[in-house]
């Protein structure tokens, strides 16, 4: 591989998780391999009047462990969790931002930004009038601020943006960050997603679309992708951030490389506001593009961290797409799991959580399970479901799929580092 090639190859060198199954990747990974659910009754607000009263919240998140008090006050919870995950990822990478920071940037995606801030300030506006409005109601709320705060906290002056594609946001954020490194605009990018949407409006709105599970009496068994008894997703909050570097930069500083982020594919269903295109054709296109841009072929895929939200309509389409990608025979050998069964559906951060877990699967040669998969829906059959128990075995290449409301498809291809 030439030096120029090394500049264009992108590797993962640090992982940061603030998730319902743990803060820090170590805790989240242990929980994922043990098949732990992060779901419970909603505590972020009084949900007693709601049809859906369960979520995967981040228990024990203390912003001041990561951010000084004054800065934390000017951040929505979504930004606080993004900064915390970024801090954890930087520490994990053993990376200090060099010099003036122009060669390092941040792509932190989110589905909805400062949900809690909007609802609080809007309520205050309605109750008390415009004169009492806070100067923070816009800058704390808008969707670009998690990325902005990550850049401010760590002195990153390279390309910094938020990408919004509903439930696919995190994957687009990571893919766009890799593209920024490949085109030479940065050597280092912090990339991932964040969401803090366990709020009255977001939860009522998601429930109104009939996308949420209402299994309120058994939260830990509510998220059950591919199971015949599934009835919707369990919303989650949190942030997942990875440190990406050009291979050249990582090698020069002697970084420990988790795996390669080999490829990125994006496509659009152009079909329906909330439902996926039923043939799975455009999901296949995104997966194929991720493999092709990574110099990989469908035969290399040992594991797919599926989008698998646990909705009746969405789950079978993705399995059909995986079968179309690799062919029915090979599909029986491709291990598939949906870790949303454990950490819930983090919406804008789903791709962030799942990128961390998929990168670890490649490095550790272990695959976290789909929990609550007791009775496989025949419509979801045809792949090697990693049901209920983690499995070990080498993972040469893995895909992480995310598909969002609006028909946004984004796929990341991770590969083991063959040459160290």
């Amino acid at each position: 591989m030439t030096a120029d090639g090394d500049r264009r190859r992108v590797v993962v060198t640090g992982l940061g998780m603030v998730s319902p199954i743990g803060i820090g990747w170590q805790e989240a990974w242990r929980a994922a391999l043990a098949g732990t659910s992060g779901a419970g009754p909603i505590t972020r607000f009084d949900a007693s009047a709601h049809h859906c009263r369960i979520a995967c919240e981040v228990a024990g998140f203390e912003p001041h462990d990561f951010i000084d008090r004054r800065s934390a006050r000017r951040m929505d919870r979504a930004s606080q969790m993004a900064v915390a995950a970024a801090r954890l990822a930087l520490d994990d990478a053993g990376l200090e931002i060099e010099g003036d920071g122009y060669r390092a940037g941040a792509m932190i995606a989110t589905g909805n930004g400062g949900s809690e801030t909007f609802e609080e300030h809007h309520r205050a506006l309605l109750e008390r009038g415009a004169e009492r409005s806070s100067p923070l109601m816009i800058p704390v709320m808008i969707v670009n601020m998690p990325a902005g705060h990550v850049s401010m906290q760590f002195g990153l002056r390279g390309p910094t943006a938020s990408v919004v594609t509903a439930c696919a946001s995190g994957n687009h954020g990571i893919g766009d960050a890799a593209a920024a490194i490949r085109r030479g605009a940065a050597d280092v990018m912090l990339a991932g997603g964040t969401e803090a949407g366990v709020t009255p409006f977001c939860m009522a709105g998601l429930d109104a679309t009939r996308a949420l599970s209402r299994r309120n009496d058994d939260p830990q068994r509510a998220s059950r992708p591919y199971d015949v008894g599934r009835d919707g997703f369990v919303a989650a909050e949190g942030a997942g951030v990875v440190v990406l570097e050009s291979l050249e930069h990582a090698r020069e500083r002697g970084a420990e490389i988790v795996c390669e982020l080999a490829g990125y594919g994006a496509s659009s269903d152009a079909y329906h506001l909330t439902d996926p295109e039923p043939s799975g054709r455009w999901q296949v296109a995104a997966m194929l593009q991720a493999l092709e841009t990574g110099g990989l072929s469908p035969e290399d895929v040992d594991y797919v961290n599926a989008h698998g939200t646990s909705t009746p309509t969405g789950d079978p389409v993705e399995i059909v797409a995986i079968r179309r990608l690799v062919g029915d025979d090979r599909a029986l050998e491709v291990r598939v799991s949906s870790t949303k069964s454990m950490h819930g559906h983090g919406m804008g951060t789903a791709g962030g959580f799942e990128a961390v877990l998929t990168a670890l699967a490649v490095r550790e040669g272990a695959i976290p399970p789909t929990i609550n998969l007791d009775d496989l829906d025949p419509a979801c059959a045809g792949v090697d479901h990693v049901a209920n128990e983690a499995r070990t075995g080498p993972v040469r290449a893995a895909l992480s799929n995310s598909f969002g409301f609006g028909g946004h498809n984004a796929v990341l291809a991770f590969a083991a580092m063959e040459d160290g």
Partner: protein, 422 residues
């Protein structure tokens, strides 16, 4: 065909806008030529009791001119603007969308999400309870639905996302699409932005930040970038979309090449949530990165469509940054205009609208004016301000810059396509 720097060359072949200066490329450009203001009193909601009662609204916009009634009902106003702009741009480009739109994508920036719908639906929740929240509350409110609806209405199956960097989002969206075309992940892209934030929450919130003009008795004279008497911006609402294609493809199909999109640069201040870094250095780095990306020397820049938000600290910082990036001598020769003086600050769409205006400036050989610039603030000197009247000029290289809350800086370079052939 590759440029001298080895990059794939990308053309702008279509422009569609829904703006305070008119709907469609021609009407908008006539307003720019005439130096018309798009400002007026707020009509979209009752603002009569508020300290700020004016904005730049896109009057005369009828969603059903561009989409059927049922589709329009399922879109926030910003998504309607995105769809209308995209359809206008595709028609302007004569872009065929065949083979199910494979290989064509859309990056539609947004800053404030579906604000109108979100406020309405949140009120429904607060006043009438969870069962009165619409099943469309979330799809209407979220920031990706401008892009999503464009893909659905036009049948685009390439990469489709929304980029959000506050007031720089439209510029970053076009830059992101440029990179997608160069790396071969699509053969054509619709790129731009849509934002409609003339709502009670955003007017109150921006006013609480003390960034809006209070000159309610003279809306048309209120937005006055670089003027000594500026007192803030006017919120504008707009959709603006450019059709981008590889130059070779555009020529092969005989399309009108409006100009070449030659470069993009981005940086972050990492300084403060609302104020720009007063050294101007990070802004200058975005400009330099765009010039390097385009392979253009600072002295070649003929025209800059400035961010020019008419803010007391922002305007001088921006010109300081421009002088840092270009050098004092080159900066003194650059024709600078802030078209926000006419169309207001269209937030997540503003960079796209300004890119459209900059592309047309190169195409038409006319520099748009900064209106209301009657007495230049001495802190804003050092460049060639095009004050109050448009100016004919032989433009080869022009730049559009945008700077957003949160410290996002972005710059685009457009050039006359013929010049790059040599």
């Amino acid at each position: 065909m590759s440029a001298a720097n080895g990059r794939v060359r990308v053309a702008v072949t279509g422009i569609g806008v829904v703006s305070p200066l008119g709907i469609g490329r021609e009407e908008m450009w006539r307003s720019v030529e005439e130096g018309r203001s798009g400002a007026g009193l707020i009509t979209l909601f009752d603002a009569s009791d508020l300290p700020v009662r004016m904005a730049c609204e896109a009057h005369g916009f009828e969603p059903t001119d561009f989409m059927d009634r049922r589709a329009a009902r399922r879109m926030d106003r910003y998504a309607q603007f995105a769809v209308a702009s995209a359809k206008l741009a595709v028609a302007d480009a004569g872009l065929p969308i065949d083979r199910d739109g494979e290989g064509i994508g859309a990056i539609i920036a947004n800053g404030g999400s579906g604000a109108t719908s979100r406020e309405e639906q949140h009120i429904a929740l607060l006043e009438r309870g969870v069962d009165r929240v619409s099943p469309f509350a979330i799809p209407l409110s979220v920031a990706n639905m401008g892009a999503g609806q464009v893909s659905m209405e036009l049948g685009l199956h390439g990469p489709v996302t929304a980029v959000s960097t506050a007031c720089a989002a439209g510029t970053d969206a076009i830059g992101t699409a440029l990179d997608i075309l160069r790396r071969g992940d699509a053969r054509a892209m619709l790129a731009g932005g849509a934002d409609t934030l003339v709502t009670p929450y955003f007017v109150a919130g921006f006013d609480a930040m003390r960034v809006l003009s209070h000159r309610n008795d003279d809306p048309a004279g209120a937005a006055r970038p670089f003027d000594r008497d500026r007192d803030g911006f006017l919120i504008g609402e707009a959709g603006a979309v450019l059709v981008l294609e590889r130059l070779d493809d555009a020529r092969a199909r005989g399309a009108e090449v409006i100009c070449e999109l030659a470069g993009y640069g981005a940086s972050a201040d990492a300084y403060h949530i609302t104020d720009p870094d007063p050294t101007g250095e990070p802004q200058a780095r975005a400009v330099t990165a765009a010039l390097e990306d385009a392979g253009i020397a600072p002295a070649q820049v003929d025209h800059v469509n400035a961010h020019g938000g008419a803010s007391k600290p922002g305007d001088p910082t921006e010109l300081l940054a421009l002088r840092l990036a270009l050098g004092d001598e080159a900066a003194a020769r650059v024709a600078v205009s802030a078209t926000k003086s006419m169309h207001g600050h269209c937030m997540g769409a503003t960079g796209a609208l300004e890119a459209a205006i900059t592309a047309l400036a190169v195409r038409e050989g006319l520099v748009p004016p900064t209106i209301n610039l009657t007495e230049l603030d001495p802190a804003c000197g050092g460049v060639d301000h095009v004050a109050n009247a448009a100016r004919p000029a032989d433009l080869r290289v022009a730049m559009s810059t945008s700077f957003g809350l949160g410290g996002h800086n972005a710059a685009l370079i457009v050039t006359r396509a013929e010049d790059g052939d040599r």
